[in-house]
Symmetry: C2
Amino acid sequence: MPRIVEVRQNILKRNDEVARALRNRFREAGVFVVSVVSSPGSGKTMFLEKTLTRLRERYRVAALVGDLATDNDAVRLARSNAPVKQITTGTLCHLEATMVENALAEWKLADLDYLFIENVGNLVCPSSYDLGENLRVVLLSVTEGEDKPLKYPTIFNSADVAVITKMDLAAAVEFDVEMARKNIEAVRPGMKVISVSAKSGEGMDEWLELLGSAAAGGK
Amino acid sequence: MPRIVEVRQNILKRNDEVARALRNRFREAGVFVVSVVSSPGSGKTMFLEKTLTRLRERYRVAALVGDLATDNDAVRLARSNAPVKQITTGTLCHLEATMVENALAEWKLADLDYLFIENVGNLVCPSSYDLGENLRVVLLSVTEGEDKPLKYPTIFNSADVAVITKMDLAAAVEFDVEMARKNIEAVRPGMKVISVSAKSGEGMDEWLELLGSAAAGGK
Protein backbone atom coordinates (compact mmCIF):
# COMPACT_ATOMS: atom_id res chain seq x y z
CA MET A 1 0.00 0.00 0.00
CA PRO A 2 2.34 2.81 -1.12
CA ARG A 3 -0.29 5.49 -0.71
CA ILE A 4 -0.95 5.07 3.00
CA VAL A 5 2.79 4.87 3.65
CA GLU A 6 3.27 8.17 1.86
CA VAL A 7 0.46 9.88 3.79
CA ARG A 8 1.86 8.56 7.05
CA GLN A 9 5.32 9.82 6.20
CA ASN A 10 3.93 13.28 5.49
CA ILE A 11 2.17 13.31 8.86
CA LEU A 12 5.34 12.24 10.64
CA LYS A 13 7.40 14.82 8.75
CA ARG A 14 4.99 17.59 9.71
CA ASN A 15 5.00 16.33 13.31
CA ASP A 16 8.80 16.44 13.40
CA GLU A 17 8.77 20.05 12.25
CA VAL A 18 6.33 21.11 14.95
CA ALA A 19 8.29 19.08 17.53
CA ARG A 20 11.52 20.82 16.51
CA ALA A 21 9.90 24.23 16.97
CA LEU A 22 8.57 23.14 20.37
CA ARG A 23 12.01 21.92 21.43
CA ASN A 24 13.47 25.32 20.58
CA ARG A 25 10.76 27.08 22.57
CA PHE A 26 11.36 24.79 25.54
CA ARG A 27 15.09 25.50 25.46
CA GLU A 28 14.62 29.25 25.19
CA ALA A 29 12.14 29.22 28.06
CA GLY A 30 14.48 27.10 30.19
CA VAL A 31 11.88 24.38 30.84
CA PHE A 32 12.89 20.71 30.98
CA VAL A 33 10.24 18.54 29.33
CA VAL A 34 9.66 14.89 30.19
CA SER A 35 7.16 12.65 28.41
CA VAL A 36 5.89 9.37 29.81
CA VAL A 37 4.67 6.44 27.74
CA SER A 38 3.39 3.02 28.81
CA SER A 39 0.54 0.61 28.29
CA PRO A 40 -2.79 1.46 29.95
CA GLY A 41 -2.73 0.88 33.69
CA SER A 42 1.04 0.85 34.16
CA GLY A 43 0.81 3.50 36.82
CA LYS A 44 1.73 6.60 34.79
CA THR A 45 -0.65 8.88 36.65
CA MET A 46 0.27 7.76 40.18
CA PHE A 47 3.97 7.95 39.25
CA LEU A 48 3.54 11.48 37.89
CA GLU A 49 1.38 12.59 40.80
CA LYS A 50 4.12 11.59 43.26
CA THR A 51 6.81 13.12 41.03
CA LEU A 52 4.94 16.42 40.74
CA THR A 53 4.25 16.54 44.47
CA ARG A 54 7.92 16.00 45.32
CA LEU A 55 9.24 18.44 42.70
CA ARG A 56 6.79 21.19 43.67
CA GLU A 57 8.67 21.63 46.96
CA ARG A 58 11.53 23.23 45.01
CA TYR A 59 10.49 23.78 41.40
CA ARG A 60 7.75 25.23 39.21
CA VAL A 61 6.15 22.24 37.53
CA ALA A 62 3.15 21.56 35.27
CA ALA A 63 1.69 18.63 33.33
CA LEU A 64 -0.24 17.79 30.18
CA VAL A 65 -2.22 14.55 30.12
CA GLY A 66 -3.35 12.70 27.02
CA ASP A 67 -6.30 10.32 26.91
CA LEU A 68 -8.86 9.23 24.35
CA ALA A 69 -11.69 10.25 26.64
CA THR A 70 -12.31 11.54 30.19
CA ASP A 71 -10.28 13.99 32.25
CA ASN A 72 -9.84 11.51 35.12
CA ASP A 73 -6.05 11.68 35.00
CA ALA A 74 -5.97 15.47 34.95
CA VAL A 75 -8.20 15.48 38.03
CA ARG A 76 -5.85 13.01 39.75
CA LEU A 77 -2.72 14.93 38.79
CA ALA A 78 -4.28 18.18 39.96
CA ARG A 79 -4.14 16.76 43.50
CA SER A 80 -0.42 17.57 43.35
CA ASN A 81 -1.51 21.24 43.11
CA ALA A 82 0.53 21.66 39.93
CA PRO A 83 -1.16 23.24 36.88
CA VAL A 84 -2.55 20.41 34.75
CA LYS A 85 -4.24 20.37 31.36
CA GLN A 86 -6.05 17.43 29.73
CA ILE A 87 -5.73 16.66 26.03
CA THR A 88 -8.44 14.32 24.74
CA THR A 89 -7.49 12.62 21.50
CA GLY A 90 -10.83 11.05 20.51
CA THR A 91 -9.87 7.91 18.62
CA LEU A 92 -6.15 8.71 18.23
CA CYS A 93 -3.88 6.40 20.21
CA HIS A 94 -1.05 8.90 20.71
CA LEU A 95 -0.31 12.57 21.26
CA GLU A 96 1.06 14.66 18.39
CA ALA A 97 3.28 17.71 18.62
CA THR A 98 0.49 20.07 17.47
CA MET A 99 -1.73 18.89 20.33
CA VAL A 100 1.04 19.79 22.77
CA GLU A 101 1.52 23.14 21.02
CA ASN A 102 -2.18 23.94 21.27
CA ALA A 103 -2.45 22.84 24.88
CA LEU A 104 0.44 25.15 25.82
CA ALA A 105 -1.05 28.19 24.07
CA GLU A 106 -2.20 29.85 27.29
CA TRP A 107 0.76 28.90 29.44
CA LYS A 108 3.89 31.01 29.91
CA LEU A 109 6.69 28.48 29.49
CA ALA A 110 9.29 30.75 31.08
CA ASP A 111 7.38 30.39 34.37
CA LEU A 112 8.12 26.64 34.46
CA ASP A 113 11.15 24.54 35.43
CA TYR A 114 9.64 21.17 34.49
CA LEU A 115 6.83 20.18 32.17
CA PHE A 116 5.56 16.60 32.16
CA ILE A 117 3.56 15.11 29.31
CA GLU A 118 1.62 11.92 30.03
CA ASN A 119 0.97 10.24 26.68
CA VAL A 120 -2.07 8.08 25.85
CA GLY A 121 -1.69 4.61 27.38
CA ASN A 122 -0.34 2.63 24.42
CA LEU A 123 2.84 0.64 23.75
CA VAL A 124 2.77 1.13 19.97
CA CYS A 125 1.32 4.36 18.63
CA PRO A 126 3.30 7.00 20.60
CA SER A 127 6.72 5.70 19.54
CA SER A 128 6.88 7.53 16.18
CA TYR A 129 5.73 10.94 17.42
CA ASP A 130 8.36 13.35 18.70
CA LEU A 131 6.77 15.83 21.11
CA GLY A 132 9.82 18.03 21.47
CA GLU A 133 10.52 16.54 24.89
CA ASN A 134 14.04 16.42 26.41
CA LEU A 135 13.54 13.04 28.05
CA ARG A 136 11.18 10.22 27.15
CA VAL A 137 10.44 7.71 29.88
CA VAL A 138 8.82 4.33 29.24
CA LEU A 139 7.03 2.69 32.17
CA LEU A 140 6.68 -1.06 32.61
CA SER A 141 4.66 -2.33 35.54
CA VAL A 142 5.53 -5.61 37.25
CA THR A 143 2.00 -6.91 36.59
CA GLU A 144 2.58 -6.78 32.81
CA GLY A 145 5.31 -9.42 32.82
CA GLU A 146 9.03 -9.43 32.07
CA ASP A 147 8.75 -9.96 28.29
CA LYS A 148 7.08 -6.67 27.30
CA PRO A 149 10.38 -5.11 26.08
CA LEU A 150 10.85 -8.03 23.67
CA LYS A 151 7.28 -7.74 22.40
CA TYR A 152 7.26 -3.96 22.05
CA PRO A 153 10.87 -3.15 21.13
CA THR A 154 10.05 0.07 19.25
CA ILE A 155 8.63 1.92 22.24
CA PHE A 156 11.69 0.96 24.32
CA ASN A 157 13.95 2.09 21.49
CA SER A 158 12.20 5.45 21.26
CA ALA A 159 12.61 6.12 25.00
CA ASP A 160 15.63 7.35 27.00
CA VAL A 161 14.91 5.78 30.37
CA ALA A 162 12.88 2.76 31.51
CA VAL A 163 11.07 2.78 34.85
CA ILE A 164 9.74 -0.48 36.29
CA THR A 165 6.67 0.46 38.34
CA LYS A 166 4.48 -1.13 41.05
CA MET A 167 7.48 -2.83 42.68
CA ASP A 168 5.34 -3.27 45.81
CA LEU A 169 3.44 -5.95 43.84
CA ALA A 170 6.56 -7.69 42.48
CA ALA A 171 6.45 -10.58 44.96
CA ALA A 172 2.69 -11.14 44.59
CA VAL A 173 2.98 -11.52 40.80
CA GLU A 174 6.35 -13.34 40.97
CA PHE A 175 8.00 -10.68 38.83
CA ASP A 176 11.64 -11.37 37.94
CA VAL A 177 13.32 -7.94 37.95
CA GLU A 178 16.64 -9.29 36.66
CA MET A 179 14.92 -10.96 33.71
CA ALA A 180 13.06 -7.72 32.91
CA ARG A 181 16.32 -5.75 33.04
CA LYS A 182 18.00 -8.34 30.82
CA ASN A 183 15.18 -8.05 28.28
CA ILE A 184 15.40 -4.25 28.27
CA GLU A 185 19.19 -4.52 27.84
CA ALA A 186 18.67 -6.93 24.92
CA VAL A 187 16.35 -4.49 23.14
CA ARG A 188 18.19 -1.29 24.02
CA PRO A 189 21.75 -1.91 25.25
CA GLY A 190 22.90 0.56 27.90
CA MET A 191 19.41 1.89 28.68
CA LYS A 192 19.10 3.30 32.20
CA VAL A 193 16.54 1.32 34.23
CA ILE A 194 15.04 2.31 37.58
CA SER A 195 12.68 0.21 39.71
CA VAL A 196 10.12 2.15 41.71
CA SER A 197 6.94 1.93 43.72
CA ALA A 198 5.09 5.22 43.69
CA LYS A 199 2.91 3.72 46.43
CA SER A 200 5.67 2.82 48.90
CA GLY A 201 8.12 5.46 47.67
CA GLU A 202 10.80 2.87 46.82
CA GLY A 203 13.16 4.10 44.11
CA MET A 204 11.59 7.57 43.86
CA ASP A 205 14.75 9.26 45.21
CA GLU A 206 16.81 7.59 42.50
CA TRP A 207 14.29 8.69 39.87
CA LEU A 208 14.31 12.32 41.07
CA GLU A 209 18.12 12.33 41.12
CA LEU A 210 18.21 11.05 37.55
CA LEU A 211 15.70 13.71 36.56
CA GLY A 212 17.80 16.42 38.24
CA SER A 213 20.98 15.32 36.46
CA ALA A 214 19.21 15.08 33.12
CA ALA A 215 17.71 18.56 33.57
CA ALA A 216 21.09 19.99 34.62
CA GLY A 217 22.69 18.49 31.53
CA GLY A 218 19.78 19.12 29.20
CA LYS A 219 19.19 22.81 29.81
CA MET B 1 -6.90 15.78 6.64
CA PRO B 2 -9.51 14.35 4.27
CA ARG B 3 -6.96 12.23 2.41
CA ILE B 4 -5.87 10.05 5.32
CA VAL B 5 -9.49 9.58 6.37
CA GLU B 6 -10.34 8.35 2.89
CA VAL B 7 -7.38 5.93 2.77
CA ARG B 8 -8.31 4.62 6.20
CA GLN B 9 -11.92 4.11 5.14
CA ASN B 10 -10.77 2.11 2.13
CA ILE B 11 -8.62 -0.10 4.33
CA LEU B 12 -11.50 -0.67 6.74
CA LYS B 13 -13.90 -1.37 3.89
CA ARG B 14 -11.53 -3.95 2.42
CA ASN B 15 -11.04 -5.46 5.87
CA ASP B 16 -14.80 -5.77 6.33
CA GLU B 17 -15.09 -7.66 3.04
CA VAL B 18 -12.39 -10.16 4.00
CA ALA B 19 -13.93 -10.51 7.47
CA ARG B 20 -17.33 -11.22 5.96
CA ALA B 21 -15.84 -13.98 3.79
CA LEU B 22 -14.06 -15.42 6.83
CA ARG B 23 -17.30 -15.40 8.84
CA ASN B 24 -19.01 -17.38 6.10
CA ARG B 25 -16.16 -19.91 6.03
CA PHE B 26 -16.28 -20.27 9.80
CA ARG B 27 -20.05 -20.90 9.73
CA GLU B 28 -19.78 -23.44 6.93
CA ALA B 29 -16.96 -25.25 8.74
CA GLY B 30 -18.92 -25.26 12.01
CA VAL B 31 -16.16 -23.60 13.99
CA PHE B 32 -16.94 -21.02 16.71
CA VAL B 33 -14.42 -18.18 16.64
CA VAL B 34 -13.56 -16.05 19.66
CA SER B 35 -11.19 -13.08 19.58
CA VAL B 36 -9.61 -11.58 22.66
CA VAL B 37 -8.49 -7.96 23.01
CA SER B 38 -6.93 -6.13 25.94
CA SER B 39 -4.03 -3.87 26.85
CA PRO B 40 -0.57 -5.47 27.06
CA GLY B 41 -0.15 -7.56 30.18
CA SER B 42 -3.83 -8.05 31.01
CA GLY B 43 -3.41 -11.79 31.12
CA LYS B 44 -4.74 -12.74 27.65
CA THR B 45 -2.26 -15.55 27.19
CA MET B 46 -2.69 -17.17 30.60
CA PHE B 47 -6.48 -16.84 30.26
CA LEU B 48 -6.39 -18.49 26.83
CA GLU B 49 -3.96 -21.19 27.92
CA LYS B 50 -6.32 -22.23 30.71
CA THR B 51 -9.33 -21.98 28.40
CA LEU B 52 -7.68 -24.13 25.71
CA THR B 53 -6.54 -26.71 28.27
CA ARG B 54 -10.06 -27.04 29.69
CA LEU B 55 -11.80 -27.12 26.30
CA ARG B 56 -9.39 -29.69 24.85
CA GLU B 57 -10.88 -32.31 27.16
CA ARG B 58 -14.02 -32.31 25.02
CA TYR B 59 -13.46 -30.23 21.89
CA ARG B 60 -11.06 -29.68 18.98
CA VAL B 61 -9.53 -26.26 19.58
CA ALA B 62 -6.80 -24.10 18.04
CA ALA B 63 -5.44 -20.58 18.44
CA LEU B 64 -3.87 -17.73 16.49
CA VAL B 65 -1.76 -15.22 18.41
CA GLY B 66 -0.92 -11.70 17.26
CA ASP B 67 2.10 -9.75 18.45
CA LEU B 68 4.39 -7.08 17.02
CA ALA B 69 7.44 -9.25 17.65
CA THR B 70 8.41 -12.59 19.27
CA ASP B 71 6.52 -15.87 19.35
CA ASN B 72 6.55 -16.02 23.16
CA ASP B 73 2.78 -16.24 23.42
CA ALA B 74 2.50 -18.99 20.82
CA VAL B 75 5.07 -20.99 22.79
CA ARG B 76 3.09 -20.45 25.98
CA LEU B 77 -0.25 -21.35 24.37
CA ALA B 78 1.28 -24.47 22.82
CA ARG B 79 1.65 -25.82 26.36
CA SER B 80 -2.09 -26.49 26.16
CA ASN B 81 -1.22 -28.97 23.36
CA ALA B 82 -3.64 -27.22 21.02
CA PRO B 83 -2.42 -26.22 17.54
CA VAL B 84 -1.17 -22.63 17.74
CA LYS B 85 0.11 -20.23 15.12
CA GLN B 86 1.85 -16.89 15.71
CA ILE B 87 1.13 -13.83 13.58
CA THR B 88 3.78 -11.10 13.90
CA THR B 89 2.52 -7.71 12.81
CA GLY B 90 5.79 -5.74 12.77
CA THR B 91 4.76 -2.18 13.63
CA LEU B 92 1.00 -2.67 13.25
CA CYS B 93 -0.91 -2.43 16.52
CA HIS B 94 -3.77 -4.74 15.54
CA LEU B 95 -4.63 -7.85 13.55
CA GLU B 96 -6.43 -7.50 10.21
CA ALA B 97 -8.76 -10.02 8.58
CA THR B 98 -6.25 -10.82 5.83
CA MET B 99 -3.64 -11.81 8.43
CA VAL B 100 -6.14 -14.24 9.92
CA GLU B 101 -7.00 -15.53 6.45
CA ASN B 102 -3.31 -16.11 5.62
CA ALA B 103 -2.57 -17.76 8.95
CA LEU B 104 -5.43 -20.20 8.43
CA ALA B 105 -4.31 -21.20 4.91
CA GLU B 106 -2.88 -24.55 6.00
CA TRP B 107 -5.51 -25.45 8.56
CA LYS B 108 -8.64 -27.43 7.85
CA LEU B 109 -11.35 -25.43 9.59
CA ALA B 110 -13.85 -28.30 9.52
CA ASP B 111 -11.52 -30.15 11.93
CA LEU B 112 -12.07 -27.52 14.62
CA ASP B 113 -14.84 -26.76 17.12
CA TYR B 114 -13.33 -23.59 18.55
CA LEU B 115 -10.75 -21.16 17.18
CA PHE B 116 -9.32 -18.46 19.44
CA ILE B 117 -7.63 -15.33 18.13
CA GLU B 118 -5.45 -13.39 20.58
CA ASN B 119 -5.13 -9.86 19.21
CA VAL B 120 -2.12 -7.58 19.71
CA GLY B 121 -2.14 -6.07 23.20
CA ASN B 122 -3.73 -2.70 22.56
CA LEU B 123 -6.87 -0.93 23.80
CA VAL B 124 -7.28 1.28 20.74
CA CYS B 125 -6.17 -0.12 17.39
CA PRO B 126 -8.01 -3.47 17.28
CA SER B 127 -11.48 -1.97 17.79
CA SER B 128 -12.14 -1.05 14.15
CA TYR B 129 -11.02 -4.33 12.59
CA ASP B 130 -13.59 -7.08 12.20
CA LEU B 131 -11.83 -10.47 12.10
CA GLY B 132 -14.92 -12.47 11.24
CA GLU B 133 -15.15 -13.71 14.83
CA ASN B 134 -18.41 -14.83 16.42
CA LEU B 135 -17.57 -13.44 19.83
CA ARG B 136 -15.21 -10.64 20.80
CA VAL B 137 -14.02 -10.60 24.40
CA VAL B 138 -12.33 -7.62 26.02
CA LEU B 139 -10.14 -8.33 29.04
CA LEU B 140 -9.54 -5.84 31.85
CA SER B 141 -7.12 -6.81 34.59
CA VAL B 142 -7.62 -5.59 38.16
CA THR B 143 -4.13 -4.03 38.13
CA GLU B 144 -5.18 -1.59 35.38
CA GLY B 145 -7.75 0.20 37.50
CA GLU B 146 -11.52 0.56 37.41
CA ASP B 147 -11.68 3.51 35.02
CA LYS B 148 -10.32 1.86 31.86
CA PRO B 149 -13.80 1.37 30.31
CA LEU B 150 -14.41 5.13 30.60
CA LYS B 151 -11.04 5.95 29.05
CA TYR B 152 -11.24 3.40 26.22
CA PRO B 153 -14.98 3.25 25.46
CA THR B 154 -14.55 2.21 21.81
CA ILE B 155 -12.87 -1.10 22.55
CA PHE B 156 -15.59 -1.95 25.07
CA ASN B 157 -18.24 -0.96 22.55
CA SER B 158 -16.71 -3.20 19.90
CA ALA B 159 -16.69 -6.24 22.20
CA ASP B 160 -19.50 -8.63 23.18
CA VAL B 161 -18.29 -9.74 26.61
CA ALA B 162 -15.99 -8.19 29.23
CA VAL B 163 -13.81 -10.38 31.42
CA ILE B 164 -12.16 -8.90 34.51
CA THR B 165 -8.90 -10.83 34.99
CA LYS B 166 -6.34 -11.41 37.77
CA MET B 167 -9.03 -11.40 40.48
CA ASP B 168 -6.48 -13.10 42.78
CA LEU B 169 -4.72 -9.70 42.93
CA ALA B 170 -7.89 -7.65 43.50
CA ALA B 171 -7.34 -7.19 47.23
CA ALA B 172 -3.62 -6.36 46.87
CA VAL B 173 -4.37 -3.54 44.43
CA GLU B 174 -7.58 -2.47 46.20
CA PHE B 175 -9.62 -3.04 43.04
CA ASP B 176 -13.29 -2.10 43.30
CA VAL B 177 -15.15 -4.71 41.20
CA GLU B 178 -18.51 -3.01 41.59
CA MET B 179 -17.07 0.29 40.37
CA ALA B 180 -15.50 -1.46 37.37
CA ARG B 181 -18.80 -3.14 36.52
CA LYS B 182 -20.60 0.19 36.88
CA ASN B 183 -18.13 1.81 34.48
CA ILE B 184 -18.55 -0.97 31.92
CA GLU B 185 -22.34 -0.65 32.25
CA ALA B 186 -22.06 3.11 31.70
CA VAL B 187 -20.10 2.64 28.47
CA ARG B 188 -21.98 -0.39 27.20
CA PRO B 189 -25.33 -0.95 28.93
CA GLY B 190 -26.25 -4.61 29.32
CA MET B 191 -22.78 -5.95 28.55
CA LYS B 192 -22.11 -9.35 30.12
CA VAL B 193 -19.24 -9.15 32.63
CA ILE B 194 -17.38 -12.07 34.21
CA SER B 195 -14.68 -11.86 36.90
CA VAL B 196 -11.98 -14.53 36.73
CA SER B 197 -8.58 -15.57 37.94
CA ALA B 198 -6.90 -17.91 35.46
CA LYS B 199 -4.35 -18.55 38.20
CA SER B 200 -6.75 -19.68 40.95
CA GLY B 201 -9.47 -20.89 38.56
CA GLU B 202 -12.07 -18.53 40.02
CA GLY B 203 -14.81 -17.71 37.50
CA MET B 204 -13.44 -20.03 34.80
CA ASP B 205 -16.49 -22.33 35.01
CA GLU B 206 -18.79 -19.36 34.44
CA TRP B 207 -16.65 -18.28 31.47
CA LEU B 208 -16.71 -21.74 29.90
CA GLU B 209 -20.49 -21.95 30.38
CA LEU B 210 -20.95 -18.60 28.66
CA LEU B 211 -18.71 -19.78 25.84
CA GLY B 212 -20.70 -23.01 25.46
CA SER B 213 -24.03 -21.14 25.32
CA ALA B 214 -22.67 -18.63 22.82
CA ALA B 215 -21.31 -21.41 20.63
CA ALA B 216 -24.58 -23.34 20.84
CA GLY B 217 -26.46 -20.21 19.76
CA GLY B 218 -23.90 -18.97 17.27
CA LYS B 219 -23.37 -22.04 15.16
